[in-house]
Symmetry: C2
Amino acid sequence: MSDSSDVLRASIGLAVSTVIFALRDAEGDTSGPAVGTDAPATVWLPLVRRIREPQCGRWALPGGMVELDESLEGAARRNLAETTQLEPAYLEQLYAFGDVDRSPDRRLVSIVYWALVRPDEAERLTLGENVQWFPADELPELAFDHNLIVDYALWRLRTKMEYSAIAHAFLGDEFTLAELRGVYEAVLQKPLDPANFRRQMESSGAIEPTGGVVTGGRHRPPKLYRYTGDVQLVDAGPLTPRISA
Amino acid sequence: MSDSSDVLRASIGLAVSTVIFALRDAEGDTSGPAVGTDAPATVWLPLVRRIREPQCGRWALPGGMVELDESLEGAARRNLAETTQLEPAYLEQLYAFGDVDRSPDRRLVSIVYWALVRPDEAERLTLGENVQWFPADELPELAFDHNLIVDYALWRLRTKMEYSAIAHAFLGDEFTLAELRGVYEAVLQKPLDPANFRRQMESSGAIEPTGGVVTGGRHRPPKLYRYTGDVQLVDAGPLTPRISA
DNA sequence: ACAAAAGTGTTGCTTTTACACCCATGC
DNA sequence: GCATGGGTGTAAAAGCAACACTTTTGT
């Protein structure tokens, strides 16, 4: 037993972690339509408090070790489900972090994923003493190199938002253009011209009208749209990221 | 001994591999100015033949196991130097491949890097029965999932060439605009308008004239340029890739 | 009627693209 | 001179950004 433990310590541990993004209003409420209402939505992420050494007590990204019989993405999904009950609509590999001194205890390499969840999906997260939502750009000091990891994931989210069609991973199957624009504005942190935004989206071929409208607002009823799925070309390499809508 | 071997087999092996790109003319000659001459340059990469099971005899990417006391990038550089004598000007992480069945023997996760080398640097590769250059888009069937990996690396190279300043990693410190354009044409596999290319480069702020010219050609002597290094902003995230020119 | 957001039109500016043309050198 | 690539000019086309204006609902 001590022998096998020594050998294990002499090998490199392989873990996965995931940066999960969701949009919530400034107060942190995901209930109701989180985007498109008055309060401007912002990017939040859930963190878990470490309950053992090292770095016990600090907030950290959800994650865990990779089992022998599961893929890297499979490990990410399993750990996500176990620690946060979340099953994200979008999940993509971010980067492998493996500096020698990034974990004080044993040598650890973490394959980090990043995920987007819809507001209704985000509701599944059972909050508690050790699980909380945090605004993405005002985080406390996290465990290990997790601050750097979140910064990088945020950069990737904002960069990719500008040239690909990942925004719909924050929304339901049907959405108005105002809601879609709200996603872009929340992530990019700047207002967008509604008229120009509409034309860009319509001419991109990424969305199509469903035929339905939303009544009930004290204004003209907006049309509903859905994603066509013709836009994978833009951001997919030979690895074909899975946008399992 | 058999005990520790069993425990090791029960853990996940961590390896690094690297896709190395260089430009060579159609016949595969890197001597002389590989770009800017008559023959259109194309993308080549060096492969090594596996000399042990599994997949013995097949061509594969250079790589090896990660040692306990070295970083991932350090492991990539060490393996590169050991198996190919190459010290690339540009080296960046590509992706972590970790499917359960990607290696028939033991469970193996490979952190793959991609690298760019200059023609003169590429000369250092000592060719032999088990080390050869191959044109990037007509490869034989490689070991493991290495065909998929090369395809992805090629896609990243071509994508990144369009919005960042990595082209100079294929060139020396000083270069003419025709040579630089030759790099773009070789990688993107399409001719570019010399006049417009010049203006785009000059207005980008990425290059500046050295003052020197190249005499000897049977035409007007072209000016020499160098990279300014002001363009890291474009492609760097919080991870600050090292373009150690 | 009025407020509010949906949706359309128009204009000016910047960027891209295509291609004509002049410049400097070796032979 | 003439061939060859280096380098400049220019104009049409396309894309982008700003903003005025019309439409349709709830109250």
